[in-house]
């Protein structure tokens, strides 16, 4: 049972984490990003579309569609994020409004396009793309360690990808010149500008990174939760990851902690319902657990939270 909690918890927490990292990039650069929800859905749509076409062309045991889906979902999320970037950076729109608009549009467009593509390309009246069931890896040796070994058991391949991406993202944000510029843009864009760096460019690229990471996360959810792409992908994981990053004070490592907490709270809840053999309706009540926990934790921690100073502010050269 403990194994199951750890395995399921990780497979939920890691996509959430990578999406939250995307959010951190965008918000540390000063662009409020409520669009994560829409970005992950749009990215996953592109990934699932590519995977569906590849699955028809390749033998069924091929792993290429899986990795191609991950990669194209990142591209798709990145391209769609440019819409948010254009609105927020170039058009100077209200960032909160833009984020919500992007979400609503993403949901409408992908649901509509899924139907249209299914009808035109496959001649089927379907509102989803079926994906292959993801393979899972177990690392021999390490996985037989008691308790901790569960971390190495039944891993989705995407979990490895996410860990690699997360390490790179951490390095770039905290150890490179570009990362420093991103962080500076969110705190004092005037100073960045004075140093001769284009604030708009940095912010634009940060939003694109958040799109790519969200797209990856969306694709992971599509594979891990139901092995299909459908409108059920919009269940609010984007918002949950925003809560995680606020909770993690816009820093990558504390955010990881928050995501793990959500993941384990969710999987533990499910296990409790199953072990105690409660009727299935109780699982609805247990589903509330991560959200109540978030609210309670926010109550205790929000006061000390330091959001990036220029978060949500439209950059105005004339202001000081």
């Amino acid at each position: 049972m403990l194994d199951k909690i750890i395995i399921d918890g990780l497979s939920f927490a890691l996509p959430l984490f990578v999406m939250a990292i995307g959010g951190i990039y965008s918000e540390r650069s000063g662009i409020t990003n409520l669009a994560l929800e829409g970005l992950q859905g749009a990215g996953a749509f592109v990934g699932a579309l590519v995977a569906t076409f590849l699955m028809m062309a390749l033998p069924s045991e091929s792993q290429i569609p899986y990795y191609a889906a991950m990669f194209t979902a990142m591209i798709g999320g990145m391209l769609y994020a440019m819409l948010h970037a254009v609105l927020c950076v170039n058009f100077k729109a209200n960032q909160v409004i833009s984020g919500v608009v992007i979400n609503i549009l993403a949901m409408a467009l992908t649901v509509f396009l899924t139907k249209v593509v299914n009808r035109i390309a496959f001649g089927a009246a379907s509102d989803k793309f079926l994906l292959n069931v993801s393979s899972r890896w177990t690392i021999p040796g390490l996985s037989s360690i008691p308790i901790v070994g569960a971390v190495f058991k039944d891993i989705y391949p995407f979990e490895v990808i996410i860990v690699l991406v997360a390490i790179i993202a951490w390095y770039v944000l905290y150890r490179t010149r570009y990362g420093m510029h991103v962080r500076a843009c969110g705190d004092n864009p005037q100073a960045v500008d004075a140093a001769g760096i284009d604030v708009a460019k940095i912010r634009f690229s940060a939003v694109m990174i958040s799109g790519a990471l969200s797209g990856l996360a969306g694709m992971c959810f599509a594979y891990s939760i139901s092995a299909k792409y459908a409108s059920t992908i919009y269940v609010g994981y984007g918002y949950l990851s925003i809560a995680a990053l606020i909770f993690g004070s816009w820093k990558i490592l504390p955010t990881l902690g928050a995501c793990l907490l959500f993941g384990f709270a969710k999987s533990a809840g499910h296990q409790i319902v199953q072990v105690l053999e409660m009727p299935s309706s109780y699982s609805d009540l247990v589903m509330v657990f991560p959200y109540v926990l978030t609210l309670l934790l926010l109550i205790f921690f929000s006061k000390h939270n330091a959001a990036p100073k220029a978060l949500g502010e439209i950059y105005d050269k004339g202001k000081r």
Binding site: L34, L83, L87, N90, F91, K92, A93, N94, V96, I97, S98, V100, V101, I104, L105, M107, A108, L109, V111, F112, K115, V116, G236, Y239, I242, A243, I246, P279, S281, Y282, D284, L285, M287, V288, Y291, V292, T294, L295, L298, I299, S302, K303, N305
Partner: protein, 383 residues
């Protein structure tokens, strides 16, 4: 080419340049552009856009259909349209009130469901007589909604919790908790929804005979229009409305001016939540008479679009909600008649939203071009 560009710019400046009317010209411009984009998509799908848009109007009871079933007519469709329009007005007003205070109430759907649920289980399943039940439904929904809204405001004020995050968390909590109770206590075994409420508690009078026709009379619409005017009055003429707006413009400045920011913020969210509660009343105990577990009403999210489109002005909201409601309500008929996916309607709504979010930029572009044209004129005059 330069010449052509110039004349296009001139045309737009002429159409949109008058600052006095920009509050209406720019939204109308966004709508027209979105409808054009939608028309292109419909054309690409090989369908006739004029016909499709006509179907939207027909489905909303604003245009005659070719034939009607017995006892039904344009009036039946229109009454049903108004019935669906009512919760949209309340929900959009809820978003607007919060926006005025600089808060973003994305939890309208959750507040709607919470209010609808409590009113259903207390009054909806009781045997109270209509004259008591109906007002009671309205009061309970307003109170429940304002409590949820107030909680969000309180968390923001007291604990500095971003209202977007807390309202989304509350949305989930409401959604799952109500689903739990519906499944365990109030479920209708056939429809898998909550049991239908008593007609006495319902804010829509069903199947009333009007001449030869039958239609549903939505009582809530009267309240919705009155509330819209009250809110306009409060924001235009009262100190309280002014203080709320001041907070929305600049929190710090209002604080220095001696406005109690925290109190006003909580009150604004309470009103916003209360209005969302009324939307829930007219939605779950009006247009519908039961609740689908684990589903939040799309109305709560569309309301954001409506409110933005209407410049969060109550009169603007009456107009914009009317328009968005045509698209929503008419889409079912359009999809059955023209064979288009009903989802195209939400795509068009999304596009309208997208263009209205660019409103400030369009305004800026127009101003820039206007200045340029005027400069050119001056230069010509001098030469």
């Amino acid at each position: 080419m330069k010449q052509k560009n110039n004349s296009i710019a001139k045309f737009f400046v002429k159409m949109l340049g008058n600052e006095k009317y920009q509050f209406i010209t720019i939204p109308v411009f966004s709508i027209i552009v979105s409808l054009l984009v939608g028309a292109i998509v419909i054309l690409l799908l090989g369908k006739n856009p004029v016909e499709a848009y006509g179907n939207l109007l027909q489905g909303s009871g604003l245009l005659m259909k070719e034939k009607y079933a017995g006892g039904k007519g344009m009036l039946t469709d229109f009454l049903s349209f108004v019935d669906y329009w009512t919760p949209m007005i309340f929900a959009a007003l809820a978003v607007a009130v919060a926006l005025k205070a600089g808060l973003f109430n994305i939890g309208v759907s959750g507040q709607m469901l919470a209010a609808g649920f409590i009113a259903s289980v207390t009054v909806g399943y009781s045997t109270l007589a209509a004259p008591i039940a109906k007002p009671l439904v309205i009061i309970i929904c307003f109170v429940v909604g304002s409590l949820v809204g107030g909680l969000i405001g309180f968390l923001k004020h007291k604990f500095n919790i971003n209202e977007v995050v807390s309202s989304i968390m509350l949305n989930y909590i409401v959604q799952y908790v109500t689903a739990f109770f519906i499944y365990t206590k109030y479920v209708d075994p056939v429809s898998r929804q909550s049991k239908n409420i008593a007609d006495a508690a319902r804010l829509t009078l069903k199947n009333v005979e009007i001449g030869a026709l039958k239609g549903d009379i939505p009582l809530g619409i009267i309240l919705a229009v009155i509330v819209a005017f009250i809110i306009k009055y409060v924001f235009d003429k009262t100190t309280f409305g002014y203080e709320i707006k001041a907070i929305g413009f600049n929190t710090n400045a209002s604080k220095y001016a001696g406005i109690n920011v925290g109190k006003n913020m909580v009150i604004a969210m309470m009103i916003s939540g209360g209005l969302a509660g009324l939307a829930g009343a007219t939605y779950y105990l009006g247009y519908f008479c039961s609740m689908q577990p684990k589903v939040l009403a799309a109305t709560g999210y569309d309301a954001i679009a409506v409110s933005l489109l209407g410049n969060s002005n109550p009169m603007g909201i009456l107009a914009s909600s009317f328009l968005i409601n045509i698209i929503n309500k008419g889409s079912t008929y359009m999809s059955s008649k023209a064979g288009l996916d009903a989802e195209i309607a939400s795509v068009i709504t999304g596009l309208i939203l997208l263009f209205s979010a660019c409103g400030a930029y369009i305004q800026y572009l127009v101003k820039k071009n206007k200045d340029k044209i005027e400069e050119n004129k001056k230069a010509k005059g001098e030469a």
